[in-house]
Amino acid sequence: MSNAMIEFREVSLGYGHKDVLGSLNFTIHAGDFLGIVGPNGSGKSTLIKALLGILKPRQGRIIFHASHNGFANGKPRFGYVPQRGQLDEIYPLTVAEIVIMGRYAQIGMLRKPQRRDYEKIHECLQHLGIEGLAGAQYADLSGGQKQRTLIARALASDPEVLVLDEPTDGLDLSSQQSILAMIAHFHQAHNMTVIMVSHHLNEVAALVKKLALVQSGCMQLGATEEILTETNLAELYNISVTVKNFDGQKIIMPGERHDGSI
């Protein structure tokens, strides 16, 4: 397809002598909203790291197609939202100081942030509804506010692809919903390519157009409707699963474990 953006061709991933994912063949297109789900330790984060260029493939190639606008550095500009727990809150940083980090690559070395950079971060904070928290300490914020800060930082880099690692993990229901609605809005309003890792199946199923199930070194990818079947999920999580359509949305209900354990 002409709008292919990122292509994994026979890619194998792993660390040291350990293979994590093998023979990955798939393409992410411009404007895709892809969800990546799978049990803990299945290789979701490894896949994301390879996509972002942090982890080199052991075999195969990751090809970045620049058919539309051309990528500045041979690959798309990624806006990455890491898991909140990865950041050490001992750093006495304000929300604005963290969000401006998203501009650093564009500002370049030996240069200080300019007025347009501060305008950009103000705009991002406004989009995320946290402009009043610009001077607040990151460590003092609630989980939802921290997540918004990290999303604002990712957006400050003017990303071509937004990559989120477990964005709703550890959040209360209301924060989860507002964060997901915000991500969906960015995808729709700006036709932004979004890749989201999550282990909350229901939230992913309701949101994304494409789904990747990662398990036991393999990955299945396709339209959410095709991938989210009771058979696939039962295999993935080793439990019986019921998938119901309710008001146009897929609802996943877990049952008993296949091996009889609790």
Partner: protein
């Protein structure tokens, strides 16, 4: 106080200790934030062992200590980035090995334990012009590097993974940070001694982080605490006839205790304002 610092040897001690204190306090903020306090202890000990080796083979102790410290900094930066072995274990093993080697080298050197004592306590009051020039050059180089690349050091320290997605070579920035710490430790240790260098790297930054919640104020207050401790430490050392290095270290400890007291008092007042006694 002015009369104490009108003496030429005290002026030289003040200038040299202030430069070491300012540099260590600034870099110490990164050391504490990156939770690698043990790195400064290990580097100080390794540099000491390097100088002890220099005494044994009649080499220049400053340059030998510097080379050994820079090589070790590079190894630490690369080893701790790979993550295959716990960082604390690497630093701990290096610390004890360097400590033992330092004692072994000094025991076979001509001057023996006298040199070991100098290496641990430093020799602030007998600074040469050459040492002062070297320190000033270090201040300029490290200061400029950290002024121009402050945002890169901060980003790669705070969130290395995201920085890598933005194209930053985090191992390189980590290496640059470790090398600047290694250089300051090695050049300062001959003057201040291992004890004071370690204190300069840890105490002012810890006190500043307790008291301030803006990064700019943390850096500034850590450097100010260092500077004041140098002035008062040297003053007490002169008047009470105490060794200068431990006097400055004791003053730094006093600053930390005062900070803890201020912090505690602030919390107590806040708590009692919220819950008025019935």
């Amino acid at each position: 106080m002015m009369e104490v610092f009108s003496l030429p040897f005290m002026q030289a001690a003040l200038i040299a200790s202030s430069i070491i204190g300012l540099l260590c306090a600034f870099l110490g903020v990164f050391v504490v934030l990156k939770r690698m306090v043990f790195l400064s202890a290990a580097l100080a000990q390794i540099s000491t062992a390097g100088m002890a080796l220099a005494f044994l083979f009649a080499l220049d102790p400053t340059w030998t200590g510097l080379i050994v410290a820079l090589l070790s900094s590079a190894l630490f930066a690369l080893a701790t980035s790979s993550g295959r072995m716990p960082r604390d274990s690497i630093l701990g093993i290096s610390y004890v090995s360097a400590f033992a080697l330092g004692i072994l080298f000094v025991s076979k050197a001509a001057q023996g334990t006298e040199e070991l004592q100098h290496l641990l306590q430093g020799n602030i009051l007998t600074i040469t012009k050459g040492q002062l020039y070297l320190l000033s050059a270090t201040l300029v180089v490290v200061g400029l590097v950290h002024y121009f690349f402050h945002k890169e050091f901060l980003f790669t320290s705070f969130d290395a993974e995201t920085a890598r997605t933005q194209g930053y070579r985090t191992t390189g920035w980590n290496l640059a940070l470790f090398l600047s710490i290694g250089a300051v430790v090695a050049i300062g240790i001959k003057i201040s001694g291992a004890l004071l260098i370690f204190a300069f790297l840890v105490i002012p930054a810890t006190a500043a982080l307790l008291l301030f919640r803006k990064l700019r104020w943390v850096f500034l207050s850590a450097m100010l605490a260092s500077l004041l401790s140098v002035i008062f430490g040297l003053y007490f050392s002169f008047h009470l006839d105490l060794p200068s290095g431990p006097s400055i270290t004791a003053t730094l400890m006093l600053v930390l205790l005062m900070t803890v007291a201020i912090k505690f008092l602030g919390r107590w007042v806040q708590m009692h304002r919220r819950q008025p006694m019935s």
